[in-house]
Symmetry: C2
Subunit: 124 residues, 2 copies
Amino acid sequence: MARARTTFDSFNAVAEPRRRQVLGLLAAGELPVNDIVDTLGWNQPQVSKHLGVLLEVGLVKVRHVGRQRFYSVEAAPLKEIHDWTATFEHFWQHQLDRIKERAEAKQTLARGRGSVPPGGLSAS
Amino acid sequence: MARARTTFDSFNAVAEPRRRQVLGLLAAGELPVNDIVDTLGWNQPQVSKHLGVLLEVGLVKVRHVGRQRFYSVEAAPLKEIHDWTATFEHFWQHQLDRIKERAEAKQTLARGRGSVPPGGLSAS
DNA sequence: TTGACATATTCCAATATAGGTATATTATAA
DNA sequence: TTATAATATACCTATATTGGAATATGTCAA
């Protein structure tokens, strides 16, 4: 068996970094294909193909205006991903809590010695 | 060129539905491999392989106890995905607002006629 | 030290992908 | 109706993936 199709899921569609880039661009508002081509500097067929995948999983929608096609973000599938990851939200909440606690404990312990833990925000 | 490797990204790792299932299981707490095998009813090697991918991108961590290996969720990469999708949060917020507005307008318009739009929560 | 348990790794086949280039499609303007 | 602009599609190649089966690794118990 092979990998799940890119068009199987919004998860799979969004796995491709380029497609995330396209969505990032469209976040600012709808754009015709050529604007995306010019902005990202890719070949036109590649842009069209990525848009095709995004369209097929419902991550974007199109508006035809003359010979131009304006693509824009469609929220629902992104919310799905958001909701799924939210299932695990308490994991990083707890983790942040622990980091905070540790920082505070250290500060209490070291008041006067002015220490800041090296490595800053690195989790785990 | 082929697709990005599954181990390239948490996005790619999580694109595989089975791996999301595994993470879902582990959300309840750490588990040894055989428990996952029994619960999901997959072949042991497949479970190990999926865990391997998840481990490589840092979505899980392992604790060795004798000949058992307890896997558990690691939050950071999931938060990355969560944060990325959050970039688009205003899209579905607005969408929900519009739905709400429409519903309220309809209710105001139809007070007394007791209508509930069929299809309920369907977005777009 | 040997056997059994828990897990990982290797080898296999089938498959879908992404980029590149060329070409098709559709719509506008002349 | 024809040339051209805007976009989509087809064809090609290299590649990584998934599941399955068999086997290897590591660890405990007797």
